[in-house]
Symmetry: C3
Subunit: 212 residues, 3 copies
């Protein structure tokens, strides 16, 4: 299956994807170090966290082989981040809490918006493009947690996937309203990032069923 329309913005997508890949790979590699995994474990978790969500999206929309398998720059970026963490862990581990949360929130926004945009390019309907944006944003972290035999973050209380879905919704609405793609993307990324940061700061959570 080929994209049915001119890509929303090919170069933008590539830059966004590679920056998000680097950020998420750093995060996956750091998690691997915390779990005392060896060099290969660090590489595997960097790759899975950074590229897992996009691979699942690409398989589902029919963009096969997925970008991360067709284009060496994706895995190279992920492994570069793994090397940074492996060699510089003494420094990486001293990065304080808030910059880490901010980097992760930025990666989440970038991936969610890029994921929804690519789904639209492949003719997926808007409602499902939003879902695929969410999958792209949280998929890699979910695979990371599954590999570590833990219940994934996305299922535990916290506004994380919700921020990704909201950002993707803004992008899709923007495109429907004929906003310029760069503007719609920026609004989506900004919304996702802001909601995530405020939610962490305010300890916001989604509601649970009360009457158990």
């Amino acid at each position: 299956m080929k994209p049915v329309s001119k890509p929303v913005s090919t170069t933008l997508l590539l830059s966004i994807d590679l920056f998000g890949t680097f950020v998420f790979a750093l995060q996956g590699a750091s998690t691997a170090v915390q779990h005392e995994l060896d060099l290969l474990g660090i590489m595997v978790l960097a790759f899975a966290t950074a590229l897992g969500g996009g691979i699942v999206r690409d398989v589902l929309i029919g963009a096969i082989p997925p970008n991360s398998i067709k284009d060496w720059r994706y895995p190279a970026t992920a492994f570069f981040a793994a090397a940074v963490v492996f060699l510089g862990h003494a420094y990486v581990s001293q990065i304080p809490y808030w910059p880490l949360i901010a980097l992760d929130a930025a990666g989440l926004g970038l991936f969610a918006i890029a994921g929804a945009a690519k789904a639209l390019d492949f003719g997926i309907n808007p409602f499902l493009a939003i879902l695929l944006g969410g999958v792209t944003g949280v998929g890699g972290g979910t695979i990371r947690d599954i590999l570590l035999a833990q219940v994934p973050n996305v299922l535990r209380a916290d506004i994380y996937a919700a921020a990704a879905l909201l950002g993707a919704t803004i992008l899709v609405l923007g495109i429907q309203l004929k906003l310029r793609p760069a503007l719609a993307s920026t609004l989506g990324i900004f919304t996702c990032f802001t909601l995530r940061m405020v939610a962490v700061h305010q300890h916001w959570n989604l509601p649970k069923v009360l009457n158990r």
Copy 2:
């Protein structure tokens, strides 16, 4: 890849799929509530339990994008079931044991038969179509259990996947014997449902290796 023959029965497949989706989504959402997950966790488990098996089947037979990604009615049905459980949990949690087991057994039979029929439509050979029927039936529940970091039901003692495989076998044999598709489907669903219900009632299990 396109279906190689006229679909066994397109409308039947759609109705079966949506009913099975609703039943399995109810079940996934209830499991999420038992694990005290939030609203998004309930939606994720409803989606994964209801649509995971069919998505895996569709990717493997080359029906890409999978139905659940192409057709908004599938995720909408799953999320509707999630909303029913979220809003009406006080009532849903009072449904007694046997109706729940019966609903789940019905969903299992519907999915196994629909899965095997779709695989046949795509030119998969009969032996593998039976396996894909089994995957469609138990795949969603398996993904649900993996997300909850539990050993999936399908691996634990109980006649569950076996009922799905038997139902799929009946359908495939029926089609080979030139039975009308609606008849072969009904026989397959009925067999799967009955075997599952009797197995739960009688505590039947498959044999294990004895001489350990």
Copy 3:
């Protein structure tokens, strides 16, 4: 997507694949017996361990439906191995440690090399073909461990995936240097096998980050 060049060696690939399938299926089935799973659990783990890696590779390179879904000989081989373990477990469980390690190392080498070769046949670039060789070698065992809710072997210390990647690298370099495919394959399999055996014997591990 079709292979872009003449397959490196079709018959060799088939024989390698079926032998590797049998070996890995024996291993998955034995693991199932150790976890006291029933007959169906034994079949599922035999199938997943033996065919999971190749299915993931085939989906990622666009060889859909995957061989294991198109060709009944693959699942039949896996289920035959499951039957051997189920019926003959008294004997299978007495096979000593080293032959088991050697069989597994042979399977690893065969799968890694066959995986990288098939990726090259489908026009994947050499760096990514090596990664896909690694995925083919360790993917099945990883899925087996995920189903058992355990952190997969590939993430725990041990030279396992590293041996698969080295073997795949030898094959890909050999093909680039215009060696005969059979020679490049043999060198790759031999290297992977030898590194794995020596690593187990000498308790070699990959480095971890020290300054935590």
